[in-house]
């Protein structure tokens, strides 16, 4: 580890403490190694270290996304800054800034029965700023919206709050030429997925006997999630509808185009089991 930190020091131009580090993840897949500058109580930089070709591609994409996002200046929306790269153990690893924030995941336990409307409206407000600051100069042909930065994995697990700023993490699926509204719809759908995982893991994880083959958590959305968040009358659909309305109004996206984007989003999630053709019409009718 000392060798790694010594190399990192020369790349980063920082005075790092070789006696402090935190390794997270799996050495045969992908690790994050948190590093400390001398005299600092919190880590200031994290190294993403892949250990196979697939993980390398993931890290490559994430770093590329970080660098793209760093070119924008968006009010109250920030992300870790890319800090450099280094070859170690035959793979390229990437350094990025550590931003300590209050993670949005912590709000899930307060949202079991009713989603917190202010979280959805806040997500819509932040994404409005992302759209305004990253949109292409010209709208798509005949449309009321332009292409813009799309995070691609905009769910509560990748969001933090630092004062009045939203901190966004994990840019592996980002693109600079994405579609507006998609990130908000992703936020809504995966909010529901995360809710289903409340209370699924017990003390076996502390004992280290958690068997991933018996995984009780679900990580992919189901048709029921689409129904609850977008179709069935109730607090969840109402909250999602309010946030969509707020976002589209602020971004100047008209009703026809918001319907088109919603339809496109549902069609792109065709891989959800049970989401047969025709579901996009149900969603549109509900909104």
């Amino acid at each position: 580890m000392k060798t790694f930190i010594d190399h990192a020091q020369s790349i980063l131009g920082m005075d790092l403490d070789t006696s402090r580090y935190l390794v997270v993840g799996n050495a045969r897949w992908k690790r994050s190694v948190f590093l400390y500058e001398q005299g600092r109580a919190e880590p200031t930089v994290v190294a993403k270290m892949p250990a196979n070709e697939v993980a390398q591609q993931q890290c490559d994409r994430e770093y590329s996304g970080l660098k793209s996002f760093a070119k924008y200046s968006i009010q109250d929306v920030i992300a870790p800054r890319p800090k450099g790269e280094m070859v170690f153990g035959g793979f390229k690893c990437y350094f990025q800034q550590v931003i300590i924030s209050d993670q949005w995941l912590g709000r899930l336990l307060r949202s079991r029965r009713r989603p917190r409307r202010k979280d959805f409206l806040a997500a819509a407000a932040y994404l409005t700023r992302v759209y305004e600051s990253t949109r292409f100069p010209n709208v798509d042909d005949g449309r009321s919206f332009a292409r813009c930065f799309q995070h691609g994995d905009f769910w509560m697990g990748n969001l933090g709050q630092k004062g009045s700023s939203l901190v966004i993490y994990d840019f592996e699926y980002s693109r600079h030429d994405g579609l507006p509204l998609f990130d908000l719809l992703q936020f809504a759908l995966y909010f529901r997925v995360a809710l289903k995982n409340i209370g699924k893991v017990g003390t076996e994880i502390a004992r280290g006997s958690y068997d991933r083959k018996e995984e009780k958590r679900e990580f992919n959305p189901s048709v029921e999630d689409v129904a609850v968040m977008f179709v069935e009358p109730g607090p969840f659909r109402e909250t999602v509808a309010a946030s969509i309305q707020s976002y589209c109004a602020r971004c100047g996206i008209n009703r026809e185009d918001s319907a088109m984007l919603l339809r496109e989003y549902i069609e792109q999630n065709r891989g959800i089991s049970g989401l047969a053709p025709g579901w996009e019409n149900k969603v549109l009718q509900a909104h």
């Binding site: 935190l22 993840g25 799996n26 899930l108 693109r175 997925v193 209370g199 017990g202």
Partner: protein, 183 residues
């Protein structure tokens, strides 16, 4: 959470990736080097004696990774007893084991705490690195407690409270891996 992004094909399913996650030694070997592993329950006197006899018989230059399973309650009690008698804190049975290892001419060249346990060492940091201990619990594990059962969340809450009361709470470590080398 994965399966994100329009038209992205997942390169590996969760099940396939899970097999890789079942390898408990990968992080330990990454940090301490690949050496023969000896597992030890520190509160078990006969196991300690057997291990120490085995280590004493090794040749100079040999290295081992000793995975020490601490007993949190016992560590707490032994610290409390010493505080009551001497007014100082000690590391309890881990401290005594390290002393015994030194007496048979082995030097400790690395020690890491592993979370949640050695059997699934997903988080690792040097045992003396209390900053990383705090960062792991406060910034990484506590925000993700939503997927834990109520009783496990309470356990984590108690852990956080103990960490606030005892900032250098190495007695909370469940498994510690020591790399030792025969002098």
């Amino acid at each position: 959470m994965r399966q994100k992004g329009p038209s992205d094909q997942r390169p590996m399913s969760d099940t396939e990736a899970a097999d890789i996650h079942l390898d408990p030694l990968s992080n330990v070997f990454f940090l301490l080097g690949e050496h023969r592993v000896e597992r030890l329950r520190l509160i078990h006197a006969q196991e300690r004696e057997r291990l120490l006899r085995g280590l004493a018989a090794c040749s100079p230059g040999e290295a081992r990774i000793v995975v020490c399973r601490l007993g949190i309650a016992r560590e707490l009690v032994s610290r409390a007893v010493f505080w009551a008698r001497l007014g100082v804190g000690l590391d309890g049975s881990l401290h005594r084991f390290r002393k015994a290892v030194n007496e048979i001419e082995w030097s400790e060249v690395g020690s890491i705490a592993v979370f949640p346990s050695f059997d699934s060492a997903r988080f690792c940091f040097p045992t003396a690195d209390h900053c990383s201990h705090h960062f792991l619990i406060r910034q990484i594990l506590f925000p993700r407690r939503y997927s834990l059962t109520l009783s496990t969340r309470l356990l984590l809450g108690i852990y956080m409270l103990l960490l606030r009361l005892f900032p250098s709470a190495s007695f909370l470590y469940r498994d510690v891996c020591l790399r030792i080398e025969k002098r």
